[in-house]
């Protein structure tokens, strides 16, 4: 579904990403791991269109997407979360989910002003979808709270729910377990697996929590200093001498 070939990104003199390639197939959970500063988030930023890659090809559902504006890439069905949670803090939880459905609701000004039946229908559909996902991530009772007032773990879950209401095919999660306690991490684990099984979503994951990564990934890519180091199933990665060296050397 997603295929990245020879992706490179240069900032001035710094080659942050150098020749990274990766593939994500349908209903797959793929992880990118690597030491801090390895360029994982930069890869994400390139794929999602926030950065224009210096070179390389990105194909999503058979369509070349490198160079497309970020919002258009997102509309193709590829949405992401951020390393530092980015919610609409002063808006309520439910509003966060309604905004995410912007392109699915009726944005015609006139029909909104006149509250036409089609407008009402779309709005109530959006509300239902939002409520469905809030329930799924256990935030329904907090629907009318301001998002900025939620606990950290709840904000993380809300961010994922916000991605899901857009109806994506590929969900990209940037360190979703960072800052979560063990219980929350287990819940997250279940949620991600359920997204794959029950909603046919593929997941591309950046994560440092090895327990989580090894447990749920179908395949893993290891990146070090911007260059690809290894890739394979969790078992292959666990025993790969290069990876062990990179990680032990790092520590």
């Amino acid at each position: 579904m997603l295929s990245v070939r020879d992706l490179s990104m240069r900032f001035g003199g710094l080659l942050a990403v150098n020749g990274v390639s990766l593939d994500v197939n349908e209903r797959e959970i793929i992880s990118i791991i690597g030491p801090n500063g390895a360029g994982k988030t930069t890869v994400f930023n390139c794929i999602s269109g926030f950065y224009k890659p210096t070179s390389g090809q990105i194909t999503f559902k058979g369509k070349q997407v490198q160079g497309l504006p970020d919002f258009k890439i997102s509309r193709l069905g590829m949405v992401r979360t951020f390393q530092h949670v980015r919610l609409f803090n002063r808006m309520t939880v439910i509003e966060n989910l309604l905004v995410a459905q912007h392109r699915h609701v009726n944005t015609n000004l006139l029909s909104g002003l006149l509250k036409t039946p089609s407008y009402r229908k779309k709005e109530s559909e959006a509300m239902e979808k939002a409520a469905y996902w809030l329930k799924k991530v256990d935030l329904l009772p907090l629907a009318n709270r301001e998002a900025g007032n939620l606990a950290y773990g709840q904000q993380r879950r809300l961010e994922i729910a916000r991605c899901m209401v857009t109806g994506p095919d590929l969900l990209m999660l940037d360190e979703p377990a960072a800052g979560l306690n063990p219980k929350e991490t287990r819940d997250l684990d279940e949620l991600i697996v359920s997204l794959k099984h029950d909603y046919n979503v593929s997941i591309l994951l950046i994560e440092h929590d090895m327990g989580l990564v090894m447990g749920i990934s179908d395949r893993i890519y290891v990146v070090s200093q911007g260059t690809p180091l290894a890739d394979g199933t969790p078992d292959e990665i666990r025993t790969n001498p290069d990876v062990i060296k990179a990680y032990l050397g790092e520590d």
Binding site: F11, T41, N45, F50, F82
Partner: protein, 308 residues
Amino acid sequence: MLEVILYFIQQLINGITIGSTYALIAIGYTMVYGIIGMINFAHGEVYMIGTYVAFMAISGMAMLGIEFLPLIFLVALLSSMLVSSSFGWAIERIAYRPLRGGNRLIPLISAIGMSIFLQNYVRLGQGSRDIAMSSQISGGWSFGPEDGFQASLSYIQVLIFIVTIISMTVLTLFISRSRMGRACRAVAQDLKMANLLGIDTNRVIASTFVIGAALAAVAGTLLGMYYGVVNAFVGFIAGLKAFTAAVLGGIGSIPGAMLGGIILGVTESMTAAYFSTEYKDVVSFALLVLILLFKPTGILGKPEVEKI
């Protein structure tokens, strides 16, 4: 033919004169923006106050019977720098520091309030009428035929070039060599990190306001002596022009401010000479819009990488 060339040269001289002072004011915008990423909206008022204080110093010394020109100029310069810097310090302390870190619109609005306050503060003390002063430094050199159009380069224009160049050199040396200058650059790179490394960021931010204000006072003194007129509202347009110059050259860059100032000054004097005086402000604003559209980082600015 000669006349046409001389006329053009005259416009060039006038443009560079005005442009140098824009550059001095622009430094204040560029430094503050470079460090806290905000426009100091009240900066134009600091410049205006500088002119008032310079006029006060000059007329005060005339009343005391002092006639030695270099002394008059020096006292005027230093006293306006002192007062303007104090205003710069106070602006940071009152309208910026308590608001740092929140919504970006809020300090901008408080600075607009500050700008209105200062305009009317000066109006309260000094009245709303224009204050005119006869020129202290007259004369100059003329080129061209005796009976035709003569281009002139006045002594005050030369003084403006020299003082601007000295100020810029001192500032550049200060930024690149001194401890405080190093701290400034560090804070501009990464405020949080600089703070963690033990740099007193509050002090650095305050000093950029003070340095910017001092240079605006230099501009105020020079332009005051050049035009010989001031009122409480000249800061607004001058500030806008200087900001344009800063953006034009690339905000955050000191040579950029100089370059931007001169380009803007020359554009303006050419528009006034060949097109129409009424539209010279329109042309400079249009220039600002065009720059922002096609090269938002300005001529010498570095591109910014969005932090995601």
